[in-house]
């Protein structure tokens, strides 16, 4: 199993009014299993995923004392080396299939393209592998779906096509950035079941990025809570039932519940000390 090791990762975006820090010294190590990254918007969770994929814009400055995936130093790697990593060894599932899929290519062609690029397969072999993969992500009629354009697919099906694309390179690490936020509650359950099955069958590591504490607690082994570009808390998913950090506790408490009806939802004020507590 390939290890992802991140120590003291800092990312800042250069802007006209000076540098804007997005990540301020984050540590993360993934070696098999499922890691969840939770945080609100602006906490830096997507920046983290993009930094690992090497997909940050040119205005980003990345520094770290250690930033490696398997035998590749992600800080020093050339563009070509990073490209060889993307899709092939690290896969990415993005948030919304409506925006992430290419609207002028059929679903099948987009999957077959991965097989052509990563495995050097020719058209017909690529197509048959793509059809297998569509069946593996539980699309009922792969032949029909293969020739459909993204706008003809439902949200749940689009998201399955996205998994298929991510799986085509047979990556060792899968990064899923809010994979279910565009899906309905009932579709979400079946989607997560599928993701769970695929990860177990293929022995991949998973980084699940989400704003939903509940979802991550149920699905992952380990959870990292981000706030303002810093790790507030890292714990096992079972420990999340009784979190240590005030921020995690507050975040868990403000969700409406289906078991009791409070007169008001709980809110919290952000303590500036949360951002200074870490070195």
């Amino acid at each position: 199993m390939s290890r992802l090791e991140i120590e003291n990762l800092r990312v800042q975006f250069m802007s006209r009014s000076g540098p804007v820090p997005a990540l301020r010294g984050v540590n993360l190590s993934v070696d098999g299993g499922r890691v969840g990254i939770v945080g609100e918007s602006g906490s830096g969770k997507s920046t983290m995923g993009r930094a690992i994929m090497g997909l940050l814009p040119l205005t980003a400055q990345v520094s770290a004392s250690r930033f490696r995936f398997a035998d590749v130093d992600l800080l020093a790697a050339s563009a070509a080396k990073k490209r060889a990593l993307r899709g092939r060894r690290i896969g990415l599932i993005m948030q919304d299939p409506r925006y992430a899929l290419n609207p002028v290519m059929t679903a099948g062609a987009q999957i077959a393209e991965c097989f052509r690029l990563h495995h050097g397969l020719v058209c017909r072999a690529a197509k048959s592998r793509a059809l297998d993969l569509l069946a593996a992500v539980r699309i009922n009629d792969p032949e029909t779906a293969y020739d459909q354009y993204p706008h003809q697919l439902s949200g749940g099906m689009g998201q399955r096509v996205m998994i298929a694309i991510a799986l085509a390179g047979e990556p060792e690490l899968l990064i899923a950035d809010e994979p279910t936020s565009a899906l309905d509650a009932s579709v979400r359950t079946s989607f997560l079941g599928l993701l769970d099955q695929i990860i177990r069958e293929r022995g991949m590591s998973l980084i699940l990025i989400s704003h939903d504490l509940n979802l991550v607690a149920n699905f992952c082994d380990r959870v990292v809570v981000l706030y303002g570009g810093q790790v507030m808390e890292e714990c096992t998913a079972t420990d999340l039932a009784a979190p240590h950090h005030a921020y995690t506790r507050a975040l868990a408490a403000c969700r409406p519940s289906l078991t009791e009806r409070l007169p008001e939802l709980r809110t919290f004020t952000r303590d500036p000390a949360w951002l200074e507590a870490q070195p």
Partner: protein, 244 residues
């Protein structure tokens, strides 16, 4: 306050006719909060658009405050019924300041003293005078949704329709907006009609809620019954177990 009587809505394409709503009947008394839950494609937004007179109904009808809703309703109807849209990143004019955004409906409905009303509307939603001359891109998501709510409240409506009012926001911000809406509802005695796919959220906010699927209302249930799991419809049970 709101009477929906066997409303059906058809959409016609070249090839076929899609029945988006099938014989939907609901009734919401004045001053109460009603929720509509369903998956995407279940017809929630179509029903809301029919209630606003934005979509023609094929049969049946909607009455709000005793007046039948028709397409292109008169100004007086809009004055009573207002709507908050789902995506606060898209529903505010990016070229207008907050002042202009809230001032526009006041001008359309010929309210006197707009200056005072704009400041009062901002105060109602917990924003200060310092936000008044900002553009939407200078505000956070939660602040934008507050502006959208202030824009509705400025003209003192009786009924407010909210289409997924917090789905673009974080849970912590969602809690603040929900508390704000509920506080304003009680202060002003508003009738609220809320659409969401988030069952826990609707259960928290509403007195009664309807579960929709494939253009039909499957069950109308009080929030208390839902919390006590007095659920009859199978689909509601599925939705309930998926939301836990």
């Amino acid at each position: 306050m709101i009477e929906i009587e066997s409303v059906s809505v058809d959409f016609h394409t070249k090839l076929r006719t899609v029945r988006a709503l099938k014989d939907v009947s609901l009734s919401v008394p004045q001053g109460t909060v009603f929720g509509l839950v369903g998956e995407s494609g279940s017809g929630k937004t179509t029903l809301l658009r029919a209630m606003m007179g934005l979509t023609a109904v094929s049969s049946g009808g909607v009455k709000i405050a005793g007046e039948a809703v028709r397409q292109n309703p008169p100004l007086a109807f809009r004055r009573r019924v207002q709507m908050v849209m789902q995506d606060c990143y898209a529903s505010l004019n990016p070229a207008h300041t907050v002042d202009q955004i809230i001032g526009e409906p006041l001008a359309i409905h010929r309210f006197d003293n707009p200056e005072k009303r704009i400041l009062q509307a901002l105060k109602d939603v917990g924003l200060g005078p310092e936000h008044r001359f900002r553009f939407p891109h200078q505000l956070s998501g939660g602040q934008r949704q507050r502006v959208a709510i202030a824009r509705c409240l400025a003209i003192e409506p009786q009924v407010m329709l909210l289409d997924e009012p917090t789905s673009a926001l974080d849970v912590s911000i969602q809690a603040e907006i929900v508390n704000l809406v509920m506080r304003l509802q009680q202060q002003k005695g508003l009738t609220l009609f809320i659409i969401s796919h988030d069952l826990p959220l609707v259960t928290h906010m509403c007195d009664r809620l309807a579960i929709m699927r494939k253009g039909m209302v499957r069950e109308v249930i009080t929030s208390q019954d839902l919390i006590e799991r007095k659920v009859e419809d199978d689909y509601t049970k599925v939705l309930l177990s998926a939301s836990l």
